[in-house]
């Protein structure tokens, strides 16, 4: 195994050199670059340039001084919000992942009319924008909202001491309600690619449902699950409207609320950018893991 690995790079280099020399001779050498140019320039102009500008801007204060003052302010005042965002996002992503895998398994393995209804119903939240979800959650989770009134109706709580859900619990609830269906959509697609014969083979050697899920379905669908987790995590870190409408005035709040506050009231892009850098860091943890895994997946 080790031998093979040490030999591989040399072989690849040799192959590459020859190929490059071969292409260089023909005029078609430039063609791939020309074809790539539009896509690459869009990425550079719309993603890389703003990203670098935002990173660079995080070192300039409102008065144009260069330094780490913005980061100092973020660490002094908004660190709790950074932790809060990170914790709520991770919690919501984990819960959404578990739920969506369970629902995905159900949709993969079951049949019948319940299956049909569920497979249509679960998609509905995907089409709702976050701002609509926010308004729904505001009346659903409020102290005298639908949920609490319902619970009080069945004497499960006292309406004068209702469940307080305008906090991390409500936030996670909304995030999961909105994002889990999207994950299910991706994960079910992945599960359906797995041939029945694998599941039947596992059953024939005595695997129970739990083992089928953890030993067959999840490992064989790892890439898709990872894609779903990454997409959901990133969209939750950057979500503004829902947290703003649910816990806007409270402490702790999310990074996006702080960014909006700095820009709206102070036009302080420096601190807003520094806050942004913290969310890039959060997202990059997963992004690096994702890219490394994708590469492994491609070369395997």
């Amino acid at each position: 195994m080790n031998k093979n690995r040490s030999n591989l790079p040399q072989k690849q280099n040799f192959g590459k050199k020859q190929a490059v020399q071969g292409i260089k001779k023909s005029p078609a050498y430039l063609l791939p670059f020309c074809l790539l140019l539009p896509a690459v320039s869009v990425i550079i102009l719309l993603y890389i340039q703003p990203f670098l500008a935002s990173f660079w801007g995080s070192f300039f204060t409102r008065r144009g001084e260069f330094g780490l003052q913005n980061y100092k302010l973020v660490l002094d005042r908004y660190l709790i919000d950074v932790y809060f965002t990170f914790a709520v996002t991770i919690f919501s992503t984990v819960v959404a992942t578990i739920l969506s895998i369970l629902l995905g398994v159900y949709l993969r393995l079951s049949q019948g009319w319940v299956h049909k209804i569920v497979s249509i119903l679960y998609r509905l939240p995907i089409f709702l924008p976050f701002v609509v979800v926010a308004q729904m959650m505001r009346s659903f989770l409020a102290p005298h909202g639908i949920l609490n009134l319902l619970l009080a109706h069945f004497n499960l709580i006292n309406i004068e001491r209702p469940l307080q859900l305008f906090n991390w619990i409500g936030l996670s609830f909304g995030f999961v309600w909105k994002e889990a269906p999207f994950m299910v959509l991706l994960i079910v697609g992945g599960f359906q690619m797995i041939d029945d014969s694998y599941i039947e083979a596992a059953k024939s050697v005595g695997a129970n449902l739990y083992q089928i899920i953890t030993r067959v379905l999840i490992p064989m669908n790892k890439q898709t699950i990872l894609v779903a987790v990454t997409l959901v995590f990133c969209s939750l870190v950057g979500c503004f409207s829902f947290p703003y409408m649910l816990i806007g005035g409270k402490t702790p709040s999310t990074i996006t609320i702080d960014i909006a506050h700095r820009v709206t009231y102070f036009r302080d892009y420096g601190v807003a950018n520094a806050l942004g850098v913290f969310s890039y860091l959060m997202v990059s943890i997963l992004a690096v893991y994702y890219v490394l895994n994708m590469r492994k997946g491609l070369y395997d």
Partner: protein, 383 residues
Amino acid sequence: MKNKRYLSLISAITVLSLLLFCFSATTFAQEKTRLVYMTAGDVNMLALGQHVIGPLYTEKYPHVNVMTVHTGPGNAGSQLIFEKVLADKDKAAGDIDVAMVHQIFLRWAMEQDLLMNYAKDINTWQYITSPFAKTSLGVNVEGYCMPMFHSQTVLAYNPKYVSDPPRNYEEIVQWVKANPGKFGYNGIKGGMSGVAFTVGWIYWKTGKYEKYAVTGPFEESEVATWEGAIKELKEFDKYVTLTGGNVATLDALNRGEIWIGPVWVDMFLTWRAEGKVDPDTRIILPEPGMPGQPMYFVIPKNTANPEEAKKFVELVTSPEFQAEHIVKRFNWYPGIDGNFIKDYVDEATFQAIYQDVTPEMLSKFGLAFPLADYFDAMLEAAE
């Protein structure tokens, strides 16, 4: 003979084409004059532009079409307008002809010299008496803007639970301690009514409204004196419900979760008129007062249609329009002096608006937001 015929043919064609040219030029011009009106604020501002001002204006000046562009609520909405006008600064003719903005916009735009000095050229300037039209956040803006309406923050309360509402900040604090969780506001990150309550708190604790909001100057040393006030506010916050925005406060009030909370008076009156809040809900303006703010018409310096833009502002600031639409329809306090609209509104409407908070109370306790530097410092300190 032949030549004569040719000559008459040519002259006939010339006359005809000239006529055609004139005709098409006028229709062309008529189609072409498009007045771009960009407005910040809530969606009701968009409705006002699209369904009221636009059609009325076109009815009066048929060669102009009004295009209303909406940028969104709060200072963020004004910020987008500022960015657009600033981006157009070096163009010979900018895209925006008239804009509807918040106070903070005036400070930004005056710094960059983006605005036309137009207000004194129009007929309706004579109806303006509000001090808000002369200085805004400590910046001299006289002539550069016309207030369309004035909006005020007040405390709304449910008389079912609160028979004797607190009349000043001192009493609010006592009331809150006696009724924990029943006073709700949206903090300083959740919208302007919460900001207004906080600013009012600092005015009350320091007693320096004049210096902070009217005369200035800004002194860094003042900021340190707020420490005690802010600490007490944080203590106060332990006994209140923090809501998720201006609308959320009204919603919570309506569901009976809270019994008192600061709201924008126009939003409250509109909701009450539409049956969205309990009709028994009342309002009160506590001493020493809470801030309010107008929204203003401004005209960018490089508008392509300065005359049309001025007529646009003139139409909306006329007493008839102010009475019919600003007061009756949208429940705002008028931008022009209230005395000029009395002839155009009926007694019931006047009562509905001024029943709880009278014009006298308004002029006494309706304060301004602080000067820009103090405003920034207060928000920073309150965090």
